[in-house]
C-alpha cells in the first residue's frame, strides 16, 4: 500500500490572493449580468446563453484562457484558478460553456501538446474566447471511459452532448483518432434536447458526410480525452461546491426571515441541525474540491484519486444542498419563480455529469486496492 507515502506531500488547499481577486471579478460580473430573474428568463428564450456575458467572462476577464500557456495565447494560470471561476458559475448557475470548452476541450488540446498547427490554432481561439469547442461524447462519460470512447467513425450520432449548441467546433473521438469538426459545416446537425437542467443545454449531434481535421492519432488522443475528462470531473467538484454554498446561504437567509408560530423558522432545532449538517458538508466539499484542483494544477500522480474522491463526495453534497434548499424554503421553494429549482436541476444533472458518484467510487476502489468481491 503506497497511499501513506503519496499523501506526504501536502496539497495547498487554500485560496491565494490572486484567486480571491479573480473570484471577485467573476462574481461581480455574474451579479450584474446573470441574477436569478435574468437566468430564469433566459432559459425559456430561444437561447439560454447571454453572449455578452460569455464575452466578458471569456475574453474580458480572460477566464477562457486560464489553463492555456501565455505563448499559446492564454493566461498561463492553472486548474486552481479555473476552479474558482467554476465555484462562481456554480453559485450563479448562469449558462456558460466554461466547463465543457474552457476546461475539458482546452485540456484535451493541451494534452495533444502541439506547438503550432491546427491544435495550437484552435487553442488560441478558445483561449481568447473567440470560439467554443466541446467534446462530442455524452455528458455522462466518466474519465475512466475516455480511452474506450476512441471508436467508430465520423459517421455517427452522439446524444446528450453538453453545450453543443454553443459550440463552433466539436472534438470527435473515432477509431482513427480525434477530429475537429466545425458545427457550421455541411453534414453536421445539432438537435437540441429537452434537458432536466435548462441552464446547461444538451443536444444530439449527427454527423453525416461532415469534414473533419484530424488532430491526433488514436493513441495520443485516447490519453488526451481521458485527461480532459479527468480535468472536467475534477473541476466540476468546484462548480458543485459553489452551487451547494449558494443553497446553504439562501436557506439560512430565508429561515432567518420567515416567521411561523411567532418565531423565525430558523430557530427550530430540527431545521438548524439540518443547516448545520449542510454547513459541515460544504466545508468538507471545499477541502475535497481544492484538493482535486491542486492535484490537477500540479500534475500530481495523486490526481486521479483526488478527482475520484472529490466527485464521489461533492456530487452528493450538491444534490443534498439543493434538495434541502427546496424543502426548507417550503412552498416558495416549489415555485418556478424562485430560483431554487435551477439549483436542484443543475445539482442533479451534475451528479451524472462526467460519471456518477458510484462510478467514481469504483475508480477509488481500483486506485486504493479495495477490490469488489
Amino acid at each position: 500500500m503506497t497511499a501513506q507515502t503519496e499523501a506526504a506531500q501536502a496539497p495547498d488547499l487554500l485560496y491565494s490572493e490572486a484567486e480571491e481577486d479573480l473570484r471577485s471579478a467573476v462574481r461581480s460580473l455574474l451579479a450584474g449580468r446573470a441574477d436569478a430573474p435574468a437566468v430564469i428568463a433566459g432559459i425559456e428564450s430561444d437561447t439560454p446563453y447571454d453572449l455578452r456575458l460569455w464575452e466578458s467572462l471569456a475574453a474580458g476577464i480572460g477566464a477562457a484562457g486560464l489553463l492555456v500557456p501565455e505563448k499559446l495565447g492564454g493566461q498561463g494560470a492553472t486548474h486552481r484558478e479555473a476552479a474558482v471561476v467554476l465555484e462562481e458559475l456554480g453559485r450563479s448557475v448562469a449558462p456558460a460553456p466554461y466547463l465543457t470548452s474552457a476546461v475539458v476541450a482546452t485540456e484535451i488540446l493541451l494534452a495533444l501538446g502541439a506547438g503550432d498547427g491546427p491544435v495550437a490554432g484552435l487553442l488560441a481561439e478558445l483561449a481568447a474566447g473567440r470560439k467554443v469547442a466541446v467534446l462530442a461524447l455524452p455528458f455522462s462519460t466518466p474519465p475512466a471511459d475516455g480511452a474506450a470512447a476512441m471508436t467508430g467513425t465520423l459517421e455517427r450520432t452522439v446524444t446528450g452532448v453538453a453545450e453543443a449548441e454553443a459550440a463552433d467546433v466539436l472534438l470527435v473521438p473515432t477509431a482513427d483518432g480525434l477530429y475537429a469538426v466545425e458545427t457550421g459545416g455541411d453534414g453536421v446537425a445539432v438537435q437540441a434536447l429537452v434537458p432536466l437542467d435548462l441552464t446547461r443545454p444538451l443536444a444530439t449531434v449527427t454527423l453525416s458526410g461532415a469534414a473533419g481535421t484530424l488532430l491526433a492519432d488514436a493513441g495520443p488522443a485516447a490519453a488526451a480525452v481521458s485527461k480532459g475528462l479527468l480535468a472536467g470531473a475534477g473541476l466540476l467538484a468546484s462548480e458543485q461546491l459553489g452551487l451547494a454554498e449558494w443553497c446553504l446561504t439562501e436557506t439560512v437567509r430565508h429561515t432567518r426571515e420567515r416567521h411561523q408560530f411567532n418565531r423565525p423558522v430558523g430557530s427550530f432545532q430540527s431545521l438548524k441541525h439540518r443547516m448545520a449538517q449542510l454547513w459541515l458538508e460544504v466545508v468538507s466539499a471545499r477541502a475535497a474540491a481544492r484538493n482535486a484542483a491542486d492535484a490537477l494544477a500540479t500534475g500530481s500522480p495523486d490526481a486521479p484519486l483526488a478527482v475520484a474522491v472529490a466527485q464521489a463526495y461533492c456530487s452528493r453534497v450538491a444534490v443534498n444542498a439543493a434538495e434541502e434548499c427546496v424543502q426548507l424554503h417550503g412552498g416558495i421553494g416549489m415555485t418556478w419563480e424562485h430560483p431554487a429549482h435551477l439549483y436542484l436541476k443543475r445539482a442533479k444533472a451534475d451528479s451524472i455529469a462526467y460519471g456518477t458518484a458510484g462510478r467514481h467510487r469504483e475508480t477509488v476502489a481500483g486506485l486504493v486496492e479495495l477490490p469488489a468481491p
Binding site: 430557530s267 438548524k272 468538507s284 481544492r290 468481491p373
Partner: protein, 397 residues
C-alpha cells in the same frame, strides 16, 4: 503576540538544550524540567513559563529536533487534560503565583490533572451544575457535590473544578472556578464502568472538601466564562489531531478487506467505499483547517471536525464488526480494567464499535455542537429559552 524569534533561533536553543543535557545521560524528569526552563516546552507560552513568546507554528521545529536526538517527551496522551484544558485556563486566568506553581509540574507530567465539570444532573446543560462551594469564616471554600465522567481522577494530583457559589442568581452567573487538591480527604474517587467493560472514567464524590481562596481561578461568579476557555480547548484537542491517509479507523477495516477476501460482500463493498471517501475528505478538511491556522486565517471549520469524526468512527467500526462476521460475534475481554489512554487501534473491532459511541457524547454531544454551528457560524436565531433569567435555585430538576 510573537516576538522576532525565528525558526533558526529556536533550533539553536534546542541544540543548546541537547548539548547541556544530553538525553543519553540525563534522567527523563531532569531533561523535561530543563526543557521547560529553556522555554522549549510550549514555545508560544510566555518566557519563564516554559515558552519563548514565539509563534505556535514554531513548536514542530523543537519537537522534530528533539525527536531526532532521541530525547524523551512528556507523554502528552497521559496528561492530555492538564496540557489541553488546565494549562490554557491557568495561563489565561491564573495569578502569577498560580502560573509559577502549577504549569511546570503539569507540563513535565509530575502532576496529573483531571477535570471536575460534568455532573449526573448537568451534562449538556453544564451551567445547571449543583456542586456547592460555600465560603467559611476563614475565607476558604468548602465543596460538596458529585462529579462524573472524570478521566484520570484516580491518578490525578489536581483538578480543575467548577462549583456553584451563588444559587440565588441565574445559573450562568453563580459559578466559580477552582483548582481542587485531589488528595483532600473529602475527595472519593470510584471507577465508572462503561459499556466497553472497562473503567476509563470515574465518579468523584466531594464531601466537605476545603479549597483555599488562593486556588480560585478568575473572579467569584465568573467561573462560567473561565470554563469557556477550557471547553474551547477541549474541542480543539478532540478534533485537531493530524492523520495520514488511512490513518484512522478506516485503515484498520481497509487492511481487513485486503487481507481477508472471503469476508467481502457487494453490500459491504459499497458501504466501505463510501466511508473510505468520507474519511479521506474528513482528513483533507482537517488538513485545510491546519493550513488556515498556519496562514493566520483560522476559520470556524474546527467546530465541525468533531462532528465528522464522531460519525465516521461510529459508522466505520460498525461496518468493521459486520465485515468480520463470525469474529465480529466475539469480544476480547469484558474484565473491568483501568486504561490510562484510549487506544482505538490496539483493540478489537467490538471495542472500537462500543467506545466510539461515546465520541458523539463526550466533549459536547453532536446535537449541542450542531446548535453551536447553527447559531455561532451560520447566525441562525437561538431557540427561545426559559432558563436565562431564573435564579438557579428555582430551576426545574
Amino acid at each position: 503576540m510573537s516576538t522576532a524569534i525565528d525558526a533558526a533561533q529556536i533550533r539553536r536553543r534546542t541544540q543548546e538544550l541537547l548539548a547541556a543535557h544530553p538525553p543519553a545521560t540525563t534522567g527523563r524528569t531532569d531533561f523535561l524540567q530543563a526543557r521547560f526552563d529553556a522555554g522549549l516546552a510550549w514555545v508560544h507560552y510566555p518566557v519563564g513559563l516554559g515558552g519563548l513568546d514565539a509563534s505556535r507554528s514554531l513548536q514542530p521545529v523543537v519537537d522534530a529536533e528533539l525527536a531526532a536526538a532521541g530525547a524523551p517527551d512528556n507523554d502528552p496522551r497521559r496528561i492530555g487534560i492538564g496540557l489541553g484544558m488546565a494549562a490554557p485556563t491557568i495561563l489565561g486566568y491564573g495569578t502569577e503565583e498560580q502560573k509559577q506553581r502549577f504549569l511546570r509540574p503539569l507540563w513535565v507530567g509530575e502532576e496529573v490533572w483531571c477535570q471536575l465539570f460534568s455532573e449526573p444532573g448537568a451534562g449538556s446543560d453544564l451551567a445547571a451544575l449543583g456542586t456547592r462551594a460555600v465560603r467559611d469564616e476563614g475565607g476558604d471554600w468548602v465543596v460538596d457535590g458529585q462529579k462524573v465522567w472524570t478521566s484520570s481522577a484516580h491518578v490525578a494530583r489536581w483538578a480543575i473544578l467548577i462549583a456553584r457559589t451563588d444559587p440565588d442568581v441565574p445559573k450562568h452567573q453563580g459559578i466559580s472556578y477552582f483548582i481542587c487538591d485531589m488528595t483532600d480527604p473529602g475527595v472519593e474517587v470510584r471507577p465508572l464502568r462503561q459499556i466497553t467493560g472497562e473503567a476509563e472514567f470515574n465518579e468523584v464524590f466531594l464531601t466537605g472538601v476545603r479549597i483555599p481562596d488562593s486556588r480560585r481561578l478568575g473572579p467569584v461568579g465568573d467561573g462560567w466564562k473561565v470554563a469557556q476557555t477550557t471547553l474551547m480547548n477541549e474541542r480543539v484537542s478532540i478534533g485537531g489531531a493530524r492523520i495520514p491517509r488511512e490513518g484512522g479507523m478506516i485503515g484498520t477495516v481497509a487492511r481487513t478487506w485486503r487481507e481477508q477476501p472471503a469476508l467481502r460482500t457487494h453490500d459491504l463493498h459499497q458501504r466501505l467505499l463510501t466511508l473510505w471517501v468520507e474519511a479521506e475528505v474528513a482528513r483533507l478538511t482537517g488538513e485545510r483547517l491546519r493550513q488556515q491556522l498556519v496562514a493566520g486565517q483560522p476559520g470556524p471549520e474546527g467546530s465541525g471536525m468533531k462532528l465528522a469524526f464522531a460519525r465516521l468512527n461510529q459508522e466505520i467500526s460498525g461496518l468493521e464488526v459486520e465485515l468480520l462476521g463470525d469474529e465480529g460475534l466475539l469480544y476480547s475481554d469484558w474484565t473491568m480494567r483501568r486504561p490510562e489512554i484510549v487506544d482505538f487501534t490496539g483493540r478489537d473491532a467490538g471495542y472500537r464499535y462500543l467506545r466510539s459511541k461515546g465520541n458523539s457524547i463526550e466533549g459536547g454531544t453532536s446535537e449541542v455542537l450542531l446548535n453551536i454551528v447553527a447559531e455561532r457560524v451560520l447566525g441562525l436565531p437561538v431557540e427561545p429559552r426559559n432558563d436565562k433569567d431564573v435564579a438557579w435555585k428555582d430551576l426545574a430538576r
